[in-house]
């Protein structure tokens, strides 16, 4: 009870309330505009939050992260264009429902499923917090190194069909993270004698370049796209009643979201994929999937929205971000000298619970906002894409230049913008670059610290959690190698047979 009271006291401030409102409404708006997305918005807003208290800045960013997927469902359902990348699966069911005149039902169901996923996720986290507070201190340097290594491995392997590209971009990220002065012996690494490289390449600069500036370039280079969505008549409450008919799918999908969100490097897509597959396999009408199945819509949206809160677990408990958005949030912690990790759960559990409560309030605010303003939100879908490109470029400047007033930072960000542009055009993965940078830095420090305390490599895994993590890494890599080998053999046999 004391914990709850002190957590609520952290939130009982006007600036936190303002951050909650800005985050929830802003996130919905950003999510509803195809071509922007939470990564772009968070990258741009990140430097502006550095002057705010950690709870204020993180609440605003978490709000954008958590609520953007609610907004992203609107264009996914109404105009067959996902507002954010993770709403892609929603188009499979939402658009056919709209075509047969059930847009209001689809939107209502999407909001209620999203709310269910979001609230379920936060409830799980609040319930799990005491357990995490006990487990997190068991993670020493070697366990954190192995967890980060597992994160990298999962990031690479989860890009099915693009494992090699994900591997090369992850390693590129690891290399970028090493540029500049080495942290212990202060020797220069890959600075080529340039003093402006001695401080290394700032994560925010890379993030802004890869996500925001590249997106602006993409929108400016491509033809203008205009979208038009028809207004929705009637209320949107009915979905909450209908959700009760799909409570099993909603509960299982939310659980998948929580489980996948907690694993570094996995996230929304796997959660969605597993939930959707589960819903289809257990449905009484599997043939409806892809043709406007309410169950498919519930599975997709509930799984999506359960992830953001769960993704905070590895970040808060171990200091390991599982995906790009939490990697960006890590920098907010660092700027304020709050070190996420096992000690945070021991010494500032009220801060952690305050963040969870903020997420809970955010979900309520977002649904309330959407229930009354969906028709007005349809206007933002109509913004032409090139105009958005101009807007993103103007906003990106603030993000980069306000960091250090450095034109060199801007040039580096613009360079990464071109790289991100090429990667996006080629459909190659970008997120592994960011995770490589962040996790590579963590792995370097933790490996160095832990190797000083072990006599032989076997000692490295002589603690239970380290051993379990090591075995998981072996199993994950082994399973992937086996499946790749089987695929190769099947391909060879079929080509020989044909």
């Amino acid at each position: 009870m004391d914990l709850l009271v002190s957590s609520l006291a952290i939130l009982a401030r006007w600036d936190v309330v303002a951050a909650l409102l800005v985050g929830s409404v802003g996130g919905v708006l950003i999510g509803a505009i195809p071509g922007v997305g939470p990564a772009v918005a968070i990258a741009i807003l990140l430097p502006a939050t550095f002057s705010l208290d950690p709870i204020v800045g993180l609440t605003a960013l978490l709000g954008i992260y958590g609520s953007s997927m609610y907004g992203g469902a609107i264009p996914a359902i109404l105009i067959n264009t996902p507002g954010t990348a993770v709403n892609a699966l929603t188009t499979y069911e939402g658009t056919p429902m709209t075509r047969r005149g059930e847009a209001r039902r689809a939107l209502s169901l999407a909001y209620s499923a999203s709310f269910c996923g979001g609230v379920f996720s936060v409830a799980c986290l609040i319930a799990l917090s005491p357990v995490l507070a006990k487990i997190a201190p068991m993670f020493g340097s070697r366990e954190i190194f192995l967890a980060a290594l597992l994160g990298i491995v999962l990031v690479i392997l989860s890009h099915r069909g693009q494992v090699l590209a994900a591997g090369m971009t992850s390693c590129f990220g690891i290399w970028i993270g090493t540029i500049g002065l080495e942290p212990v012996k202060y020797s220069q690494r890959y600075t080529f004698g340039q003093s402006w490289l001695a401080g290394g390449v700032d994560l925010i600069v890379v993030v802004l370049g890869l996500f925001a500036i590249s997106q602006a370039f993409l929108l400016l280079v491509e033809d203008d796209k205009f979208s038009k969505a028809e207004g929705i008549g009637g209320g949107l409450f009915a979905g909450f009643r209908e959700l009760l008919r799909h409570k099993r799918v909603a509960a299982v999908s939310s659980s998948f979201g929580v489980a996948m969100g907690m694993i570094p490097g996995v996230g929304e897509f796997t959660a969605q994929f597993l939930s959707y597959t589960y819903a289809q396999k257990t449905s009484e009408a599997p043939e409806d999937f892809g043709n406007g199945s309410p169950e498919g819509l519930v599975a997709s949206e509930a799984a999506n929205n359960a992830v953001p809160a769960a993704a905070m677990i590895p970040l808060l408990a171990l200091g390991i971000p599982g995906e790009a958005l939490t990697a960006m949030m890590l920098s907010v912690f660092y700027v304020h000298s709050v070190v996420p990790g096992p000690q945070l759960f021991q010494s500032q559990l009220d801060f952690v619970v305050a963040l969870y409560i903020a997420l809970l309030i955010l979900n309520v605010l977002v649904v309330a906002f959407l229930l009354v303003s969906t028709n007005q939100l349809l206007r933002v879908i109509e913004i032409p894409t090139r105009f958005l490109g101009v807007a993103i470029l103007v906003l990106s400047f603030v993000g980069v230049y306000s960091l250090r007033n450095s034109a060199i930072d801007c040039a580096i960000a613009a360079g990464f913008g071109v790289l991100g542009f090429a990667l996006k055009r080629l459909s190659l993965p970008i997120v592994p670059i960011i995770l490589g940078m962040v996790l590579g830095g963590i792995m370097e420090i933790k490996l160095r610290t832990s190797m000083m305390r072990v006599d032989s490599p076997v000692d490295f895994i002589n603690r239970p959690i380290a051993f379990i993590l090591f075995v998981i890494i072996l199993i994950v890599v082994g399973a992937h190698v086996r499946s790749a080998w089987l695929k190769y053999r099947i391909g060879k046999e079929s080509s020989n047979g044909g």
Binding site: S51, S158, S427
Partner: protein
């Protein structure tokens, strides 16, 4: 994870081979510089050497890059056309850098208004509503970030020419 994981899978894209070749060439260059650009410190433990993590990164880049290049070897279509699109993006890089260069000269407000208006004309808008809309957006961005959130953007050199009171006001807010 990325959108393409579900949406586009393994579809070959134009320019894939050129990008893979450029990436491998860059990786090999970095690999050749490993000795010169890092300190090996042979006396210390392997994992503690300053050169260890750059070596991990660059070796991984090279290994995965070569395998990716091998996988892309048959993707030869549309490379030149795609390269032209990449070059078109460079034009907007120049626009962005011109904006960065001009802010300390004419100030954040004027530079942003001019940048938003001119860029909207450059991308093809020829009627007043979108151009004015872009300009208004630029004004709002300056107002929110500089005047309200007080982000660190220095005043323009042009403000020195203004009377002291107005100059200070402009430096603080715009």
């Amino acid at each position: 994870m990325s959108k393409e994981l579900i949406v586009s899978g393994k579809a070959a894209r134009p320019g894939g081979l050129a990008f893979a070749a450029l990436f491998v060439a860059f990786s090999l260059f970095l690999l050749s510089q490993l000795g010169a650009q890092t300190t090996a410190s042979p006396s210390s433990q392997l994992f503690s050497r300053p050169s260890f993590w750059p070596a991990v990164g660059v070796a991984g880049m090279t290994a995965f890059g070569v395998l990716h290049l091998f996988a892309e070897r048959k993707n030869r279509h549309g490379g030149a056309k795609e390269a032209l699109v990449w070059i078109r993006a460079l034009e907007y890089l120049l626009w962005f850098m011109a904006y960065v260069w001009i802010v300390p000269v004419i100030g954040y407000l004027l530079a942003t208004l001019a940048f938003a208006a001119l860029l909207s004309v450059r991308v093809g808008y020829r009627t007043w509503p979108p151009v004015l809309g872009a300009t208004a957006l630029g004004f709002c961005v300056v107002l929110v970030f500089k005047a309200f959130l007080s982000v660190k953007i220095p005043g323009g050199a042009i403000y020195d020419a203004l009377p002291e009171g107005i100059g200070n006001f402009m430096i603080v807010n715009f």
